[in-house]
């Protein structure tokens, strides 16, 4: 999966990597700040639309940001390593911020373990699948543009999609499907907590 886009111009490091990642992080920081100060919008007609819009953007950026960032990096000629780092940047910063925030009431060990709770950990693993999907879509688009001999489906991205599907099942669906999906993974996680921090 090393840069498979010889027909693309490889832009400068700043242009292909730093700027896109920096903008994504900047947007995240702005939205994080804004959602932390929703009182600015009072409690009237503005509040709910403002909260809806800002949290929607923030959520999309954290959970699905790699769908936006990965293709940008791809078509700017970023290497695989750069694409992966760039796609993970916002999510990793958010996870570290969450660890810092929960450290206010959890111990250092518990705070780190918090990052393995279903939501942050799930998102971290889902990115593998998102990037794999993006990789195949980008290859397909590139092939349409005339990229000769380019294979769309290779083992790496296909395994990535498999990991995504498995993780979605484990974290989101595993449980009593109609009523409490996802609970089994959560209870396993809690048992892990008891074993690690409560000596049970």
């Amino acid at each position: 999966m090393n840069n498979p886009v010889p027909v693309l111009e490889k832009k400068t490091f700043g242009s292909r990597f730093l700027w896109p990642m920096g903008i994504a992080l900047g947007v995240w920081a702005g939205l994080d700040f804004l959602t932390g100060h929703l009182e600015w919008f009072g409690s009237g007609a503005l509040y709910r639309p403002a909260a809806f819009g800002s949290y929607l953007l923030l959520g999309v950026l954290i959970a699905f940001g790699s769908f936006i960032i990965y293709p940008i990096l791809f078509f700017r000629g970023a290497s695989l390593r750069e694409r992966v780092i760039g796609s993970y940047a916002v999510l990793l910063v958010w996870v570290f911020t969450e660890i810092f925030r929960v450290s206010e009431y959890f111990t250092a060990g518990e705070s780190v373990y918090y990052a393995f709770s279903p939501m942050p950990f799930g998102l971290l693993v889902y990115q593998v699948g998102y990037m794999s999907l993006c990789e195949m879509i980008c290859r397909w688009r590139l092939k349409k543009r005339g990229g000769r001999g380019m294979k769309i489906f290779t083992p790496g991205p296909l395994i990535g999609v498999g990991v995504l599907l498995a993780m979605v099942y484990l974290v989101i669906l595993w449980g009593v499907p109609e009523e409490s999906p996802g609970t089994k993974w959560f209870y396993i996680y809690q048992e892990g907590y008891k074993a690690l921090f409560m000596g049970k």
């Binding site: 929703l38 509040y47 709910r48 009431y105 009523e179 609970t183 907590y193």
Partner: protein, 464 residues
Amino acid sequence: MNSIRWKIYCQIKHRGFGWIPLVFAVFTLIFSGSVLGAEKRPNIIFILSDDHRWDAMGNMGHPFVQTPSLDRLAKEGVRFNNAFVTTPLCSPSRASFLTGQYPHRHGVKNNLTPWNDRNITFLELLKKAGYKNAFIGKWHMPGRLPDILGKAVDRFVTFTVSGGQGVYFDCPLIIDGKVQERKGKYLTEDLTDLAIEFMNREKDGPFCIYLAHKAVHQPFWPSPEFRKLYEDIDISRHLPPGYHSWVSMIRGSWYYGMLGNVEQFYRDYCRTITAMDNQIGRILAELDRLGIADRTLVVYSGDNGIFWGEKQFIDKRWPYEEATRIPFIVRYPAGSKNPGMKCDQLVLNVDLAPTLLDAAGVPVPESMQGRSFKPVLGNRDFPLRESFHLEYYKDFPYRVPEYDAVRTEKFLYVEYRGGKKPELFNIQKDPRTLHNMIETFEGKRALPGLQERLREYIRGKSGE
């Protein structure tokens, strides 16, 4: 008793004192309702719901939720407007209802620390006093199921599926230790059927039924006949000002399990309340049918409240009114003089056990930290308490700091562990606890007394 009276009557009549039986009969008639009736211990039915907020009932002025059975109960009994849990979380609160103790004493401090079989429940004490008991419904305390069958109850029905939360439909039940599939059954109705069955079996009494519903906990599934209820209600108008569409997905709230449209969840919450109320109506109707309503003490309560977007919170756990206040209605025809009475006394979940024991004439153990509110049922001015202690222990991974708090009729003062600063609210002026007044003149004046009281509470629990 009747046969003894009849023998005395025959002996007296046989000796020619014909006027004595007449006098005896008159006295019997006069006193049978009081002196002799007092010998009869009441049947007890305690109905516990899950996450039912104190204000989500028609009789509390909710704008649209229909709760005719709870309204009836309030009309015929006493409704406590200021009822609270000492820890706003399921497992600790359930253990407190059963033991009359705070979590620091019974040991179920959160949803992770296990129940200790050495804890003594009011059910055990009632059984020793001759009651026939049934525990029917949600146990949901960490650890293995308790050893109460035979010791505290004569029938033990519960479930362990989904981490002990149960499921609304087809929920397998463990009945006296044996797992039974319950295909096609709606859990609230199924548990009610079993409670009614036990009532019929033990109608001669005295019996005690602890009926703990999964309802109205998420995922808020009503029974089929109520699925279309409240369809035309504009829910957004009834949710609090702090609510927004993503409120269930921030600050770790996703672990409460409401990913999706919170407005739809709230609609289903209200439907599930009405569905549960319908089943409570069946219990009341059965008491009427059996003719034992007058000698049955019925208590309805919830294990804690729930936020619906206030302060951008979902779930419970925090020390604010939305989480700590619970519905609490008591119907006790033999003990309350004013049906329909509304009482503003501070009543707690830990008060249930001593009250039920008191009503049954069973001595209340000193280890119980609650107080019997039985006298309040007859006299709402009976002094019960001026303040109480709220405590919360870390419940990983839920993002709420540990705290101790003191709640009086007027103030709520909270001290958190970790970096969060103390808070003080004037509940009477600011019931939504939006304005921390700790730095105000009024706050500084009230603070020393509240701090001293909280120190006393904390010293009390540290000494155990």
